[in-house]
Every structure is written in C-alpha cells, then in structure tokens.
Subunit: 255 residues, 2 copies
DNA sequence: CAATAGATGTCGTTC
DNA sequence: GAACGACGTCTATTG
C-alpha cells in the first residue's frame, strides 16, 4: 500500500505508473477534466472527483452523486500516464470498440495504490435462474400435468426459458421474470410462441411467470391468448393463476 | 479532507460517522464481509475491497476487477455505522424496495473523507435522442417525402420514437437504435406498428433505423413487412436503405 | 408512484 | 467474436 496526501502531480504520476506496472488498484481524488470519445463522446469540465483504476484495466470516474460512474472504461483497457503542461494525464484506451478516456488532473488531494487480496466471489440467490430451477423441479407449480422438456430452448427468434407440454399435449413456452413483468417481457413471450407454434405445427401455449405484471403487459397477453401465472417471491413461493377472460377482464383463482 | 492510514476500527468509525453527518464522500479500503438482502440476497466472504459512500447515500463495494460494484445501494439510502464485537459495521438501508446492505470490516488500510466540490455536469453527444433530432430536422434522410408529425408518440403499447407520414399518406412509425439493432428492437417496432395500424385503421409502415442489424432481427422485420434503414454513425451520418425483398433476401441501395 | 425505454449500459453464456 | 438476454440493472422522463 502506498498513500500520498496532497501529492504533487509528479509524485502522483510515479505512483500511478507503478500501480499500472504492478497491477495494483489505484485511487485518486482530485480536481480534473474528463474527456471521452468512442461509441459516444462527452466532455466533463473541471471538478473534484474520485478516480479508480483497477488491475484489470477498468477505470471509473465518480462524481459525488449517483451509483454510476460519470465516465468509465471497462475491464481490458490499457491505461497510461503522462505529465503534460496542462496537468497529469491518465489515458485509457480500448481496442474494440475503439474508445478513449482522458482524465486530466489539475491537482490532487489523494493518490494511493493497493494490493487487494481477495479470492472470494459473490454468492447470490433469488435470480431468474433460481426461479426456473424451482419450477423445473416442481412443474405442478405451473399447473397440474405440466411436463417440462427443455430449458433454454433455442428458437429462431430467441431462447425460451422453459419449454414443455401440458396434460393435453399442447406445447407450453414459459417466460420467467424475477420482478414485475412489463411490455417487453410480454412481447418476448409472444415472439417465442409465434415462432414455436409455426415451427412445430401445433398449438403452443405461452405463459409468463412473474411476481406481478403491468396492466398493459397483461392486456397484451390477453389479446394474444397468452397466460400469466403469478409467483410470490421466496421464501413464500406461492403460485396463482390469473385467468384470461373475454374482453381483457382479469380474475385471480388460486389452486 | 481527512485521511487515516491503517486506522483502528474505532478511529475509522469516527471518521465514517462524521462523513455521514456532514455529507462528505467516504473512501474505505480494507478487509470485509458483505451481506445483502432485498430484491435478491447475497453473501460475500471476507476479502479486501474498496468501499465508497457518497453524500447522496449511494454505497459501492468494489472488488479488484470489473466495472460494476460487487454490492451496492443506490442514492437515497440511509447509512449508519456501528462498532460491534465482530468488527466495524457499515449498514445501508433502503426504504422501497426494502433492502439492506451490511459491510463488516475486519481491518482497514485506509479511511478517508472528502468534501468534493463539483458543479459541473457531463455533456454527452451521440445518444439516441441526437439521432432522432437529426432525422426530425432532415426527414429526407429516411426517404424523400417523409413528413415527421410526432416525436415520442404514445400508443397503448409503448412510445414510438418518431411518427409521421410518407408521400402516399401511409403512417410511418420509426424506431431508432444508436447501436446494432437486435431482436428486441425489431419486436418493439412490430408491437408499435400492430397497435397503430389497428388504432388508426390504415396502413402504417414500420422502419427500424440503426447503424447495423443482426441477421435474425432483419429476418423478423422482413417477415413482417417492416423496413430497415442504415445510418452511419457521426460524424459521417450517411443513410442507406436495406430493401426488403421477397423470401427474406436483402439488398442495399444508397440514395 | 407506476410505467416505459435508453444506456458509452455491463456481464455471462452459447454458438 | 457475434448474438442474445438477465441484471438486486440504473437513470431519466412522463403521466
């Protein structure tokens, strides 16, 4: 660990150069101008920000608000540092797509580098994948007689989360959402069902499984004879069926 | 600015408490365990990370790789700090949706807080909005005789980027993408066109405008009599038309 | 607040 | 590398 408080631009340059060379994480706090050109382009006039350069080449510029960096470059980029007449330049280049981020420091409050030791990875539960696994192992949660056949079934127009057959032998395409389903999800399901029923030459039902749904998404489902099954989030995991009636009215029946 | 190098947990707690109280940005580097519960849930065993607490309540936990924080809480959250038997606890709570992030520091290499002075905002060019403005001001870029009528036209199933009429009086719905158009964009356009033609009771053409398109997205367009117009990115801004032919063949003609 | 869609989205996975 | 979709997406905008 190296920490410089209120360093000169020269000293900060040395620290940065060493951090890049030794693949250490660098933190800079100071007044800078930021310039980006690539997929889009941006200018950020001078102000005080926090800059983080990671060993994998990721570069973040954070203002004092927001979760998102105001400017950045993703992992895999090459950083270099240069001392020019206008200040300390930190340049990060990306090959494909070609992008460049230039941070020009006018002054620095802090420059530090760290050898972060971290062999751990995040363990996350509650993703869409978990939901699909749950239903695959307990298909009756969807409806009695439902038999899953294929997970991530590839169609010409995208991948169906779960494909199977109902008790009558109809195809069933299921799209899962871990949060409230919106128009895009209903569109997505419709796209799969259209393609599958055409390809298989038989009736394919489409079911959207989500904890809740927007009214227009539900309407889109109704108008296309698609179905919605509500699943309550863990640890409850209750399933309900929203019955599609004529004229887009809806009703809920548990089973 | 306050900087503590290798501080005790007690000293770090004081610094953090003051930073929260005075709405200063805090930076912590040290060994910690991170626990999250909310929309999903996660556990991250002990390791060295960088933690950033912003004055707006945003909280970021960064590992040494990736652009994304491994855990976080968005702006608007309430942070508090506590010294327990197991270490220094930094707790961040969100009201809606209810979420909680707990960072438990075992040891610290650095604790610092800053009063960032920054009145500047990012100026970005090259977004989708810029593209729509360009075409609105120069409609012939789409085709001769195209007349834009409404931007962000609201339909029952979403907003059309640009709506207008062609030289024959047909409706024209245009969807813009600043990058390569994929299946979702084609679906989106189809959804708008289906709805608009039904509502208006007349033929409504659908045009997807993008710098490039995936083959399956183009096929979906073709199969639904939708069109694709290629636009080269700035500073070039050239338009080409990809002619939709029978049987999904494609051709390109400039004009 | 809900809904909708963009984003320099990023990231993982598969082909 | 291209395509496709999830993400604790985040963020802005509009009703």
């Amino acid at each position: 660990m190296t920490v410089l408080i209120g360093p000169s631009l020269e000293d900060a340059k040395e620290l940065l150069a060493a951090a890049i060379r030794d693949k250490r994480l660098a933190l800079l706090v100071g007044s800078c101008v930021v310039n980006y050109v690539g997929r889009a382009g941006s200018v950020l006039p001078e102000g005080e920000r926090v800059v983080m350069l990671k060993p994998d080449g990721a570069l973040l510029v954070h203002q004092k608000k927001k979760r998102e960096p105001v400017n950045w470059n993703p992992p895999g980029c090459e950083a270099s540092v240069r001392l020019g007449g206008k200040g300390l330049q930190l340049i990060s280049k990306r090959k494909r797509p070609k992008e460049q981020l230039l941070i020009l420091f006018k002054s620095l409050e802090l420059a530090a580098s760290f050898e972060l030791v971290d062999r751990e990875e995040l363990h996350l539960v509650g993703s869409e994948r978990d939901l699909i696994t749950l239903v695959s192992n307990e298909p009756s949660l969807i409806e009695p007689g439902f038999r899953p056949l294929e997970r991530e079934k590839l169609t010409k127009y995208g991948m169906v989360d779960l494909y199977g057959v109902d008790r009558d032998g109809n195809g069933v395409a299921i799209e899962f959402k871990r949060r409230r389903a919106e128009l895009a999800s209903a569109s997505q399901l419709k796209r799969y069902v259209d393609e599958l029923s055409k390809k298989l030459g038989k009736r394919v039902r489409g079911i959207l499984v989500a904890p809740s749904i927007t009214s227009s998404a539900l309407k889109l489902l109704n108008e296309n004879q698609l179905e919605y099954v509500r699943i309550r989030k863990p640890p409850t995991y209750t399933f309900e069926r929203v019955v599609t009636r004529e004229r887009g009215q809806k009703g809920i029946s548990e089973f």
